[in-house]
């Protein structure tokens, strides 16, 4: 990975308001599930119940929990893939609780918050070159001349440790770790105030995971961007977040400073999660029957 520190455009630091990057109050998601028991056609499934949190510029929030905890549903509501059933979401000072069909508004929301998904194999267009994929985002969200865009693409690739030459190829020519860097570069291209990472390092090999974690920490230091880091991996969350929220079946069971939650957890579920992580001296225990 390159050690050079590419200049961050002034715009990236000042485009969004100072203070809170994200403010979420009473967020709720209810899914209508067809079928189900008791002869009813539908039943309601509460995926997220009354989640509230806030995140300052330049800070990083971890959302941890197991499958079915609602962590990905929260991410999807934040970026607007999924409409919220209740509560408010304010990103970069603007309310986005209601979904919108207006192109301009959707584009603006995209420029405020970007997301990196878990699987770098399915989140890139297989027929589009890396340069093309980043160029598209720059065209959409920023006003730049073609040569400025070309320059910026090189900067972005360098920032995530990819070469100019790698920008010319198709995703299939890159490894999983390299593709995940492309996904990160593409998200950074929009110069968002907030970057949501949904299990973005989970599928990576350990040696690549370390590279991406360091990269993310570098970006946060350089740009004042806020991160929402969704993960089941508590060691990774310790490494990249300062605040953490623990979710269990849609309910926030504990939230606060990451160090406090990992060093002195109060909720039994958080304790169970910590006790389940293999580490030196760990003995597997029969803990739960699902």
């Amino acid at each position: 990975m390159s050690d050079s520190t590419p200049s961050v455009p002034a715009a990236q630091k000042s485009r969004h308001l100072d203070g809170l990057a994200v403010e979420v109050k009473g967020l709720r998601k209810v899914f209508r599930v067809s079928g189900g028991s008791g002869g009813r056609r539908h039943h309601l499934f509460v995926a997220v119940e009354d989640a509230s949190f806030s995140l300052e510029q330049g800070h990083s929030l971890g959302i941890v929990g197991e499958s079915g905890s609602g962590k990905t549903t929260i991410a999807r509501m934040l970026v607007g893939i999924e409409p919220a059933s209740g509560g408010t979401i304010i990103v970069a000072g603007r309310d986005r609780s209601a979904s919108t069909k207006r192109t301009a508004e959707r584009r603006r929301r995209g420029s405020e918050m970007q997301i990196v998904f878990q699987d770098p194999y399915t989140s890139l267009d297989p027929r589009q070159s890396i340069n093309g994929c980043i160029n598209e985002v720059l065209k959409l969200h920023l006003t730049m001349t073609e040569s400025e865009r070309r320059q910026r693409i090189i900067e972005l690739l360098d920032q995530v440790g990819l070469t100019e030459r790698q920008g010319l190829v198709l995703p299939k020519n890159l490894s999983g770790g390299q593709r995940q860097r492309v996904a990160i570069a593409r998200a950074l291209a929009a110069e968002p105030a907030v970057l949501v990472l949904d299990e973005a390092v989970s599928a990576l090999d350990v040696s690549i995971q370390a590279q991406i974690i360091n990269l993310l920490n570098d970006i946060r230091e350089r740009t004042n961007m806020a991160f929402i880091f969704i993960s089941h991996n508590l060691a990774v969350v310790r490494q990249v977040t300062d605040q953490t929220l623990v979710l269990k079946k849609g309910v926030v069971v504990e939230q606060g400073a990451t160090e406090k939650i990992l060093d002195a957890p109060e909720d039994d579920y958080t304790k169970l999660l910590l006790a389940s992580v293999p580490e030196p001296g760990w003995k597997p225990r029969r803990v739960s029957v699902d």
Binding site: S67, N214, L262, L272, S276, P280, R286
Partner: protein
């Protein structure tokens, strides 16, 4: 002494893109009765292929050389029928994704009893009784009802327990487990590992456990083999591996993990990416990413050497002093050599 499983100088080539490519190179490892040996490595390191070779489950046109012996008998001249018998009685595999490897249109009971009824000529009712007993032993309540259910009615953790039950049922001497808990939540993983290890130990079965998770491997293995680019680069006990890794790759892998109990200012990362066996340069496969590389590393493949009971494949293993944590070597400038 006869080993339960002895893999000796195994090399495997597979056809990809119409040409043969190396996936395993000179792999030698033994597993004793009731012993747990973990194969640890990153993607493409060859750990799954090693396990598949043992059961002759390589993709079509795969070429194997070297020797695999079970209880002292070579398996290399096995006919298809011999392999079938071997897989039905001596060794069985637990795969990563139970949903992909359990037939979705058959009931759990049919899946569990198939091997007993067909290979052991057991009466179906007796087989179902046995299956119910084992399901309860792997922590599944209401076993009789579960036997009538279909795979989609069970959660992932539950289904992996069914998979474990299916392996225990045929009472093999060797279990091969290929990332059996990678797709599961951490609490479910703890549960499934506890059950697997408990039941295995009670029956004195040996296990070859494949994982990318060094800590998980350390938790219940007797020995750990670290693989890189198709080679085994180090074999050691968990305690020794974590205290004093001998291969620079092992040390780098250990140091690059984020730790649960302390934040590392900056994770010591390994540059580059893990290589597959066919991409590895001549000489040491790790040379391009190794901070201790010297001229000899590109000149010849390091032989395996025995140091303090551990096996290592590194030219400089005798002189290097490596640390397994980032903090441990803060004072020694990244774990410099002794010279």
């Amino acid at each position: 002494m006869t080993h339960l499983l002895e893999i000796d100088h195994l090399s495997v080539d597979l056809v990809t893109h119409r040409r043969y490519r190396k996936v395993l190179q000179d792999v030698s490892i033994t597993v004793e009765k009731a012993e747990v040996v973990s194969l640890v490595g990153e993607s493409g390191s060859g750990k799954s292929m090693t396990a598949r070779s043992v059961l002759n489950l390589l993709p079509a046109q795969g070429k194997m050389s070297g020797n695999i012996a079970f209880e002292g008998q070579s398996l290399m001249d096995n006919t298809n029928k011999d392999w079938q018998r071997f897989r039905a009685t001596k060794a069985a595999m637990i795969f990563q994704d139970p949903r992909a490897s359990i037939n979705p249109v058959h009931r759990i009971g049919d899946f569990l009893t198939e091997a007993l009824v067909h290979n052991r000529d057991m009466d179906r009712h007796e087989a179902l009784e046995r299956a119910a007993t084992i399901l309860e032993q792997v922590g599944i309540d209401d076993a009789k009802r579960r036997l009538r259910q279909f795979p989609h009615e069970l959660s992932g953790g539950m289904l992996q327990r069914v998979m474990i039950a299916s392996v225990l049922l045929i009472e093999p001497q060797l279990i091969l487990a290929d990332e059996p808990t990678t797709a599961l939540d951490v609490t479910t993983q703890a549960d499934v590992i506890a059950i697997l290890d408990d039941q295995r130990a009670q029956r004195e079965m040996a296990m070859l456990f494949i994982t990318h998770d060094l800590e998980l491997a350390a938790a219940f293995s007797d020995r750990i083999a670290v693989m890189y680019a198709g080679y085994i680069v180090e074999v050691s006990t968990p305690a020794q591996l974590h205290a004093r890794p001998l291969h620079p790759y092992t040390a780098a892998l250990l140091r690059s993990r984020p730790l649960l109990h302390e934040r590392t200012e900056r994770l010591p990362q390994i540059s580059g990416r893990p290589l597959s066996a066919f991409e590895a340069p001549p000489g040491c496969p790790f040379q391009d990413r190794c901070p201790y590389v010297q001229a000899q590393c590109s000149e010849s493949l390091p032989p395996t050497q025995l140091i303090n009971g551990s096996i290592v494949r590194c030219h400089r293993a005798n002189e290097l002093e490596l640390a397994s944590t980032a903090s441990a070597d803060a004072g020694t400038e990244g774990g410099q050599s002794r010279e």
